[in-house]
């Protein structure tokens, strides 16, 4: 129902490859890069989202809500803009 949201942001980032936003729920991938300020990178890294880590997308809330991912068997939820700055090499379901 809200697929158009996902597609639109996926298009915006196509040149860079996938992000946590453009991944589909259930897909996994390896984090390639985390873009953003020092605090955001440090904090995401502390929660397990840093280059080289394998992440699995659990869900994305409707209406531009947060994205939940599984990393190291724990769950992390982050706002949509932050999720869109985590670049991922998608490796299938």
């Amino acid at each position: 129902m809200f697929g158009w949201l996902r597609h639109r942001s996926a298009d915006a980032n196509r040149a860079d490859g996938d992000t946590l936003v453009s991944m589909a729920p259930g897909q996994s991938g390896i984090v390639l890069d985390v873009r953003g300020g020092h605090r955001a990178v440090e904090r995401l890294g502390a929660l397990g989202i840093r280059p080289g880590k394998r992440v699995t997308k659990v869900s994305a809330m409707a209406l531009g809500g947060p994205v939940t991912v599984e990393v190291d068997r724990s769950h992390v939820a982050m706002g949509r803009h932050m999720a869109d700055r985590v670049l991922v090499q998608v490796s299938g379901r």
């Binding site: 440090e42 809330m61 809500g65 724990s74 992390v76 939820a77």
Partner: protein, 569 residues
């Protein structure tokens, strides 16, 4: 000796703390409750040591206020007990290595040790000890007390790991190497709690579950509240307390100043538990037999939801909606707390990062979130006319919360940061921990609310005797009658509501208002000044200027909404 308890948020640090010191502290699943800190004392060998529960931190390169506090406290400690979540070793060891790079003795507590089995994780404790440079490593299960004795014994053997200073990337590489060396993970299927966990953060199933949780919570709170009232507290009052008061009333001759203060007015020649408004009648019946039962029910349910770990999921679910109000999903926690008492709710707005968010959240709580005392008034008075009127009051307040939030979001400067939270695993609540937290909160209500309650009842009776209320009613009459359609005397209840909302109950009761008037009066009571205790924490948390803005907002919105309700009904 000063011992610091340090670790990531949600690793059971506060439980370890209360095990070590025997001091009861509130420990819950959501990060943020321990900003600020607790301290206690414990015995190490023959020495009494000071123990400090440092706010949860992921890193010593601070990324938020709590981590700055943690870093600052590190400089004051002699020994660090690093509490580690054994089921999330990799993430936790980052902080451990940072601590070992500092020149301070460390003991590592591998907490949640029992959960490693359920998760299919095996950790070679001896190997971990060697890898960390020989610091003691003790597996613990803080909730059951397992390993705590060994942990205390290990404090004497605490030592620095003499690790070289590393860059962030080097440290993560070292963490990865150590984790691979000491931990084996056997693959296993998702447990029911993980499936449930996924379902609560998916849009459709999450919404259904949230509605179910809400409905179940309301049902349980009402069940507990009403059962306590009709089977325990009201019978106790009728059987034991009332006869004493009646005897007192007769021996005082049924009139006079002392009678007015202690027993109050007689209604149709009899002592009335609510309307008499004496210290020994309404002053006892209202707080104990009307408000306390709902306080108990509310805090029991809230404590369970906290300890199960549901609240962070609710925050994720509501995040995009809350952004329309200039808040992120985490602001739902102060909001929920506000349904119990606005005082801890306003204090809990500290978990929000920006000043703007704290202002919006605190103002919305003070204006549109009715506390348990106020809800007891609403249910007790408006409920007599039928459920639809109670629903009307709640629906109005919900609309106010939404509309005011949208307006504040538009007009308040500054920005609101995005949500970023760890969602802890579901845990079965520990009965003892839930009950001790409940007792702490109920005791808080009794200690803080009751004195103000008694003083308010006393003050109202004295002012009434002095004729001050007649003047007040005449002055406010145009607003009350023309704008709000209420009798002039009800201004007294609304003003007294500034002291305590539940006191106002006894003042509204004898006015024989219609259902519509009760709806307007309830909404006005909810939206105008918060009680004096809430006002005090508002000033403390927001400062005078923002409190003044907040107060202006509530007065303006209360009059507008009251006038609209009066016109529509």
């Amino acid at each position: 000796m000063r011992i610091l308890l340090m670790g990531n948020p949600n690793v059971g640090k506060s439980v370890v703390f209360s095990r070590l010191t025997g001091v009861r502290v509130i420990s819950s699943n959501y990060p943020g409750t321990t900003v600020g800190y607790s301290e206690g004392r414990m015995k190490v060998v023959d020495e009494v040591a000071q123990v400090i529960d440092v706010p949860g931190t992921y890193t010593l390169d601070p990324t938020c206020e709590a981590e700055e506090v943690a870093l600052h406290m590190l400089q004051m400690g002699d020994v660090v007990i690093n509490v580690v979540d054994a089921t999330s070793l990799e993430r936790n060891l980052f902080l451990t290595l940072q601590l070992l790079e500092k020149d301070i003795p460390v003991v590592v507590a591998l907490n949640l040790w029992d959960d490693t089995k359920h998760c299919g994780i095996t950790i070679d404790v001896e190997r971990l000890r060697t890898e960390l440079g020989g610091v003691p490593v003790v597996p613990t299960v803080a909730v059951s007390g397992q390993g705590i004795k060994e942990l205390v014994e290990a404090i004497a053997c605490a030592r620095g790991g003499q690790h070289p200073a590393r860059s962030r990337d080097e440290r993560w590489a070292a963490v990865g190497r150590i984790t691979d060396a000491v931990q084996t993970i056997t693959h296993r299927h998702h447990t029911w709690s993980e499936r449930l966990s996924d379902a609560t953060v998916k849009p459709a199933s999450g919404a259904v579950i949230a509605l179910g949780v809400l409905a179940a919570s309301l049902w349980v709170i009402r069940l507990i509240g009403e059962s306590l009232i009709s089977y325990v507290l009201d019978p106790l009052y009728q059987a034991f307390w009332l006869p004493l008061v009646e005897r007192l009333s007769i021996s005082l001759g049924g009139q006079g100043v002392l009678h007015a203060l202690l027993v109050g007015r007689l209604v149709d020649g009899a002592v009335h538990p609510v309307e008499s408004f004496g210290l020994l009648t309404s002053g006892v019946y209202v707080p104990f037999a009307m408000v306390l039962p709902y306080i108990v029910g509310f805090y029991l349910v809230l404590g369970l939801l906290e300890d199960i770990g549901y609240l962070p999921r609710l925050a994720v679910l509501l995040d995009s909606g809350m952004h329309r109000l200039g808040l992120h999903g985490y602001a739902i926690i102060p909001t929920l707390l506000g349904l119990g008492c606005n005082v801890p709710a306003v204090m809990a707005t500290r978990i929000l990062e920006s000043r703007r968010e704290r202002f919006i959240a605190a103002t919305l709580v003070a204006v549109a979130i009715p506390c348990a005392s106020l809800q007891a008034v609403i249910i007790g008075l408006v409920g007599d006319f039928g459920l639809e009127y109670v629903v009307l009051v709640y629906a109005t307040l919900l609309c106010v919360w939404l509309v005011l939030g949208i307006i504040l979001h538009r007009v308040t400067g500054g920005f609101s940061p995005e949500l970023l939270i760890e969602i802890p695993r579901y845990r079965l609540p520990v009965v003892k921990a839930v009950l001790s937290k409940l007792w702490g909160r109920v005791r808080g209500f009794l200690m803080e609310a009751l004195p103000i309650f008694f003083v308010s009842v006393l003050a109202v009776n004295l002012l009434y005797a002095a004729g001050a209320f007649g003047v007040l009613a005449r002055t406010a009459a145009p607003i009350m009658t023309k704008l709000l359609g209420l009798p002039a005397e009800s201004v007294v209840a609304i003003v007294v509501g500034f002291l305590r909302k539940d006191v106002a109950l006894g003042l509204l009761a004898p006015l024989s208002l219609t259902a519509q008037q009760f709806v307007v009066a309830s909404v006005m009571l909810a939206m105008t000044f918060p009680c004096v205790a809430t006002f005090a924490v508002l000033v403390k948390e927001l400062g005078w200027r923002d409190t003044a803005k907040s107060t202006a907002t509530m007065l303006a919105s209360a009059l507008v909404v009251g006038a609209i309700l009066n016109a529509v009904l």
